[in-house]
Amino acid sequence: MVSKLICIVLFSSFLFTVNGLYEDQAGKFDWKQNYVGEVKFSSIDVDVTTKRLYVATKKNVVASLAIDTGDIIWRQILEKGPEGSVELIHPTKSKIITVSGVDVVKVRGWDVKDGYLHFEWSTETNNVLYLFVFNGLLHNVYSSNNLIAVDTYHLETGVKGKATYTFPAHWFSGSDRCALSSGSLACFDVAGKLNIGSLIKSNNDRLSLDIIGDKIEAIPGSPIPAFIITNKNVEKLVYVKENTIHLRSLTKRSSSFIYTYMADRHILLQISSPMQDTIVTEGSILEDSTVIESLSSKESKSTLKISNPRISSAFCGRSKANTVNCVALVSTHDQSLMLLKIPGSIKWHREESLTNIINVELVDLPVSDIEAAIEKEFGNKESFLDHSVSTGAFSMFVRRLFSQLQQLRTLFETVLGIIETPSKTTGTKSNLVRDQFGLHKIIVAVTSAGKIFGIDNLNGEILWTVLLCGVGTFYENKVNGLPSAPMHLQRNSKHLSYSPMCTLLLKSEDSENTVLFTFNPINGESKNGVTQLPYRVVQAVPLPILNIESVRSLILFDSSNSPHLYPADVPLSSKPPPVYIYIANPINGLLQGFTVDVPISGKEFSAKEVWKTQFNKPTQIIAIGSRDAMEHVHSQGRVLSDRSVLYKYINPNMVAILTLAPDTTHKSVLTLHLLDAVSGIIIYSVVHKRATYPIHLVHSENWLLCSYYNDKTRRTEIASYELYDGNQLSNSTDFSSVGGSLIPPIVEKQAYILPGFLQAMKPTITEKGITSKHILMATTTGHLLEVPWAFLDPRRPLGEPKEEGAIPYIPELPMLSESMINYNKSLMRVDGIYTTPSSLESTCLVFVYGLDLFYTRVAPSKTFDVLKEDFDYLVIIIVTTILLVSAYVTKNLASQKALKQAWK
């Protein structure tokens, strides 16, 4: 018994050490980038000792940035969702005060130096219209009983002020016809008159102005009440000074900002971006429209791609040469943040839209020119297809000579140091070539701000960006309301004569129809890449056959269930087998299966509905889990303790469907259905009662994991399912879903408790599937756990082990510090994990996105196919040389001895 225990403990200790990282390996294979999100409010602190920026963002983050570099000095993350949304920030000398929350307003004071919380108080509020700070008092403007009431609170203590001011409610004509700026409310009345009144005092004096407008907006952060009134694309600026209304017309469409320059003088700063790579600024005195020459600038940068810049905060001063200088924190529509020196340049630039990644793909890099030449020469017949090279003896000889000459030249150049070795140059094109082990890839990330990024996976450097404004927007996922951007890699980098090709499905900006955006994932270039479709695509499926241009064509299924091929007019290389497509409507719970027979010409074909499944209302389809298309299952079965084999049920067409239905007795019922997407057969279904969000689903090989929050036991549980065929392989020759075996697979099931809350879950994937599987779990505490699947195996025995090496069942999953692959780099607000295989069987590349970006690589079964870093090459060389020499010497000696013996 004791020895058994020791064995188990020893075994498990070895299991965990797999995940360990040596101290000096930290940061060697991984990188992390911190972000704050799209800026909502900001303030500039130009105090020489601090020199900082304070920002509050739409990701509910309060942070301080260094003014010179834009680096994050401290960052505090507030509650998720509307409870933590920052409504107001107010900088004081030593504290940054934030007001956040919707129904319960929480006021917090953060230390400017290190972001520590100084104080916090909260109050319950209803029907809040506006919040503003004046004179150290928080003013809460709300509507109650046909009145507009203003409550005041002392900002730091939360003590309620003496008076509550009230105003007649008819004055407030709705939040889209009113705006609040610097404590003054401006509203259009029914007659189209603009009334401006102060909410700070309880007087009912109102200023009014005759102006026609259809939109009113307050200038953010203005020291005096100032509004922009838009009427048929003509913008006018209305401001109040010394109790009188002034009107100023604005010439250009640009974003404005007002800065108090001297006691009675204000600077009006305007910023616009006529092109994606240019920023134009203008400055003038607000009162007399005098143009300040030094503030007019035009900044162009080819790498810059922005749209609709807006000044979030600014600071102006007088320089030695007696000109006015400004620094402005500019946020843009594409959620980038930059510090602009006027006159001057962009000091730094942050791509905050990377906090809103909605789709990610890791794309292989193309091979280098030399390797391409070798490939052309020795490549096998299949890869010749796209090389278009002749195979005559003479031409092959010439090509051989040419490629060898080229190799020789590069060798000389490297030796003589004429060109730098590719590994040293970063960010240049020559560096973007495939390495030996397929570890260097490019991360293509689509963000909800409409910007696509190409990121180097080895150092996190942004290589290219593409703005989607003017191309299209995103469709919205109806269940969770998040934007979705399906992306298909139609041609990878393996085809030498063609560049890789990636297609993104977008929604047209002015209709429900689909726009296809095709680009090269290596450099972001797009040549005639925008295709407007006259229909809405509901499903896009890649064909198993390439077309003659080596493009994996997509079958686009439109909303009237007719299929189309993209690219449309290119014939296929061979006749594809009949393709089965399923479409799911998450809202009404309708699932339909179609069969499509694509002709070789790729023209004129139709779909036939073959199965239909209808979930009862109000069941919603919340997730569909299909296996990764790249996944291979290496072993077909498991060996049991009696040496018999338990065969896995491996159905390549199986998808897992999660449905959630509200229930009277169990609150909500989560059902997992396993569906054969070809035949429409429900293989298995299982009900989880009282299961609610967060729900995550993992489907890989022959097993599934479903994590949910159990409302009854109040904890996160992971249900694990595994499918087996039994002792005989049922579909041994070739698998067919139609008319296949009637016997349902054996389903092993077990549940585990996870001591924590999950944000994302994903299995590792390797090229051949030999390496054991680990599950990557991102928890709300910021850890990225690497849990061996053996711990989640539903066959973990409670009694005697059924097979060798099985770990006894323990209901709670271990969360060991050694298995946290992000060590001390906490990852907050994780949205997803992306895993992709490298060319090394042992290694899997991991990219985690959310508020922070984290990239690393994991080796679930240790790096069995690479030598260790500290491998002693010298010793092995010495040993082999000695052995060789001694073998040679002893051989001679032996022959001499044999000769002597023969003479005897």
Partner: protein, 286 residues
């Protein structure tokens, strides 16, 4: 007298049972007051893309909780069409309409290869999948045999349809109770084992430990510098238990205890194991 009493008691018993029965049935009725399935209407497509024609209608009673077997006849022209369909290796599509008692209709579509229908001599299986509220959400068609070659042997006009009902399984729950029981059982066994076999680790395994210690002593005496070697393992690098064990082998007796204290990373599972082995050599010194 006694028999009469018994009889009375018996009748009372029956009454009680009956009462129980009626309560149970009323509960049952109230439970099944939802919209129950009344019949399944089948239509099939015999000419590709020409539309569906009626095959049969099957009456279903969910309360009986039995699988339903129904036999229906189709005419000869339909049989010919079916054979043609099978010969061309087309798909046989079946439209299923499930009606409930209140008249609510749900449409489903399912298919199989036509040759399988003919090959199985018109024996088919319909699986009706019911959700947790017993309302159907999917219908699957299958045949009894996977024979796809012999179309000509078809000598019947009768479709033999078996209707199965499948309900979802319940989810697994973390089995904490059994685990706790198992732990208690193990603890009991350990306590029992202790009282029976009170020998210490050293007493039991002295034959393994002694050679190891001798070996270490020899190694330590021959190589005095080796004393410092185990200290290397105190660098946080050594997470692997094997290194600790190697270090024991090369350590001298004096440094052994110190090594253990320093080397084992706190909280790592090897600590339990190490403490067990730790006691034995120190006892040996004494």
């Amino acid at each position: 007298m006694v028999t009469i009493l018994k009889r009375i008691l018996n009748t009372m018993n029956y009454k009680l049972i009956c009462l129980f029965c009626s309560i149970f049935s009323s509960i049952y009725c109230s439970d099944s007051s939802y919209d129950s399935i009344s019949d399944v209407y089948l239509e099939h497509e015999l000419i590709p893309n020409a539309g569906f024609t009626k095959r049969s209608s099957i009456l279903v009673n969910l309360e009986s909780r039995n699988d339903v077997v129904s036999i229906s006849t189709i005419n000869d022209s339909d049989i010919q069409l079916l054979k043609q369909l099978a010969f061309k290796n087309e798909l046989y599509r079946l439209k299923v309409t499930v009606r409930t008692l209140s008249g609510k209709e749900t449409h489903f579509l399912t298919f199989t290869r036509a040759c399988l229908i003919v090959g199985s001599k018109l024996n088919d299986i319909l699986t009706l999948h019911l959700d947790h509220l017993d309302s159907p959400f999917a219908v699957n068609l299958a045949t009894t045999s996977s024979n796809c070659n012999s179309f000509d042997e078809l000598n019947t006009n009768n479709f033999t349809t078996t209707v199965f009902f499948r309900r979802p399984e319940t989810s697994p729950v973390p089995d904490t109770a059994t685990y706790i029981q198992k732990m208690e059982r193990e603890r009991d066994a350990r306590e029992k084992g202790k009282s029976n076999n009170n020998k210490s680790m050293l007493g039991k395994y002295w034959m393994y430990i002694l050679p190891l210690v001798i070996f270490m002593m020899i190694a330590g005496a021959s190589n005095p510098e080796a004393r410092h070697v185990p200290l290397n393992c105190c660098i946080p690098k050594t997470l692997a238990g094997c290194k600790v064990i190697v270090s024991i082998a090369s350590a001298t007796l004096q440094s052994l205890k110190i090594n253990f204290l320093n080397c084992i990373p706190s909280g790592s599972p090897i600590a339990d194991n190490a403490s067990v082995t730790n006691t034995s050599p120190s006892e040996l010194i004494l």
